[in-house]
């Protein structure tokens, strides 16, 4: 299928409504990105999302768009409360996969002599890779249900971090409406073994240094300055979320038949937002989102503990505070202005980040004048970015922006390209230490497999759907 596109400006492309599409598609991308996109099926997926009932505004894709399953990765779509649908495929298997960024009172120069020991200790203390978990942490079924209801707040109650952390997490680290009764035994079982684990694939833990500041005022508000050490945590709801998604895809396949919804791809199966099937999924999805918030909170506590042990400094000296924690696989009820009218919408962000503007009530009071922090990880060899949300994003993309670099190379192609290269050795020569459970992951996750995230945030900045604050350079990376 050839998808027709019309260039609107240097970073916007319209896919005019045709066939079963109920609305246009809108892609944020550079001309070069669009060339690459035509070689895969992501644009068709933008069209497919536009066919679902009750879509409000265009079916959108952020500049890190790539071929997903059902929805494209980088997809944003909002559905009306009365006529719209919820689609688990529009959230993804890793419900509330997200990124947390910690600031510190340390400088790159200060920790360089201990970087190897820090990387080793983080790799040891924070379970990463398949089947890995801490022997000193076990979860009962009843306690797990508390995690599902309370999210990061549960972890803080157990001593994993402090209440201040909660102020700097999207939604204070909990999504309301969670109901553990809507979750299968199988999901509970998978979750029990995996809370407090990083996982594998593109998940990571990274020690970084602040390399460039683009907006001194915003950086100052976030407590960032050049040469400072930060820590990024990228993980989600692990097997718990995967199972919730899988369970509810089966429910939604039946629901789509029941409600007469025609699906261009079974992975887009969905149910009307006013149906029991939708309500049950949203309650289970909230459980998974809360699991992910608790997961990142626990890992944060172990990061702090590890820094204290290795560097022999106390919490007051290290000051490893949460800058922010964002979801990038989620569906949320939000109020937005559409054609001058305030409307309640279910916004699906599949590989996209909320980017609320300055002044928004859901932003921590300390950040309200600069906008919501947006955390955009790149690849392990280049850099990551800190941005803030903008009024432009709020009015054009339901307050959404990109979530990362986006792959350009398949895993097989990455393996081929890596032949003859010692990826870990080459990164070490550039001052980036990697600790990984498996070589396969490192090869597949090498820099060349991803778009240059600088190009992605450049489009975001040009389009006005995000504002650059700082660039972070990796120093040590822990991978599953």
């Amino acid at each position: 299928m050839t998808v027709k596109t019309q260039q609107i400006d240097q970073c916007r492309w319209r896919i005019p409504r045709e066939g079963a599409m109920r609305t246009d598609g809108l892609i944020f991308a550079s001309p070069k990105m669009m060339e690459d996109l035509r070689r895969e099926q992501a644009l068709e997926q933008v069209c497919n999302v536009a066919t679902l009932p009750g879509i409000v505004g265009p079916s959108m894709a952020m500049p890190d768009i790539h071929w997903g399953y059902g929805f494209p990765i980088g997809g944003v779509a909002a559905y009306s409360v009365d006529e719209g649908v919820i689609s688990p495929g529009g959230v993804g298997y890793d419900i509330n996969c997200g990124v947390r960024l910690l600031r510190s009172n340390l400088t790159a120069e200060e920790i360089r002599p201990n970087l190897g020991r820090l990387a080793d200790a983080l790799f040891l203390n924070i379970p990463s890779g398949v089947g890995s978990h801490r022997s000193d942490f076990k979860l009962s079924v009843n306690t797990e249900k508390q995690v599902l209801l309370k999210g990061a707040g549960w972890a803080v109650q157990q001593g994993f971090g402090g209440t201040t952390d909660l102020e700097y997490i999207e939604g204070h680290g909990v999504i309301s409406g969670a109901d553990p009764e809507m979750v299968s035994e199988r999901a509970l079982e998978r979750g029990r073994a995996q809370l407090g684990t990083l996982g594998s694939g593109n998940h990571f833990l990274e020690i970084q240094q602040v390399e460039v500041i683009y907006d001194e005022e915003a950086a100052g508000v976030l407590g960032l300055h050049p040469g400072q050490i930060t820590v990024s945590i990228h993980t989600g709801s692990r097997g718990f979320g995967y199972q919730v998604c899988d369970d509810y895809l089966k429910v939604m396949l039946k629901a789509a038949r029941k409600y007469g919804i025609i699906l261009p791809d079974r992975q887009l199966c969905c149910a009307p937002l006013q149906s029991d099937e939708a309500r049950n999924y949203l309650a289970a999805m909230a459980c998974a989102a809360n699991f992910a918030f608790a997961n990142r909170q626990m890992i944060t506590a172990w990061v702090r503990e590890t820094f204290e042990q290795v560097l022999g400094k106390g919490p007051d000296e290290l000051r490893l505070g949460v800058i922010y924690d964002v979801c990038h696989n989620i569906a949320k009820w939000e109020d937005h202005t559409v054609s001058g009218k305030r409307r309640r919408l279910c916004v699906h962000r599949k590989g996209a980040t909320r980017a609320f503007p300055p002044g928004h009530a859901e932003i921590p009071a300390a950040y309200r004048k600069i906008g919501q922090p947006v955390l955009i990880p790149g690849d392990m060899g280049r850099y990551s970015y800190v941005l803030t949300g903008t009024a432009g994003a709020y009015s054009e993309t339901f307050g959404s922006t990109c979530h990362g670099a986006g792959r350009v190379m398949s895993r097989h192609a990455a393996k081929k390209a890596a032949r003859g290269h010692d990826i870990i050795g080459e990164l070490a020569a550039r001052g980036i230490l990697v600790r990984a459970a498996g070589r396969a992951t490192v090869v597949e996750e090498m820099s060349a497999a991803y778009k240059d995230v600088a190009d992605v945030v450049d489009v975001v900045q040009q389009a006005g759907i995000g504002h650059l604050v700082a660039r972070l350079k990796p120093m040590a990376v822990v991978k599953g």
Binding site: E40, G92, S410
Partner: protein
């Protein structure tokens, strides 16, 4: 990307796929299962030391293919087992009964190439063609 045994691993920008061809639907389901194991564990040598029965239900054959492969993912992950053989004893339009075997994952002998989040319904296909049966799935990694 060919891996033999009637299946082929497919390229995808972020994830991977599996396709297979076989003379019968049962053989196709077995070939797809072997493809899944190759995707997760590469060509690790594996012995049939543990047996279990898996029973899967779905709404139609296409969904049965996804449910079957996800059942193997769950069995393997929750028991830390590398699957070895698959024998489908009964397969209809909406249910399947199989005996599967495998051995506990041993990092000395087995390599874990990819962790599978789930087998997806994206562009899933299971159909009888002029040459036999054809199946395809994409897997979220």
């Amino acid at each position: 990307m060919t891996a033999g045994n009637g299946f082929r691993l497919l390229e995808h920008t972020a994830d991977m796929g599996i396709e297979a061809r076989a003379a019968s639907c049962r053989e196709l389901l077995e070939a797809m299962a072997k493809g899944l194991v190759a995707l997760i564990f590469g060509d690790s040598p594996v012995r049939a030391m543990i047996n279990t029965k898996l029973e899967v239900h779905a709404e139609d054959r296409v969904e049965l293919l996804v449910a079957w492969l996800n059942e193997i993912v769950y069995w393997s992950e929750s028991n830390n087992i590398v699957p070895a053989t698959f024998q489908i004893e009964a397969a209809g339009d909406d249910e399947l009964l199989a005996t599967v075997s495998g051995e506990p994952f041993d990092p000395e002998r087995h390599s874990l190439e990819h962790q599978v989040k789930s087998v997806t319904y994206h562009q899933v296909c299971l159909e009888e063609t002029a040459d036999g049966w054809y199946g395809r799935v994409y897997v979220d990694l």
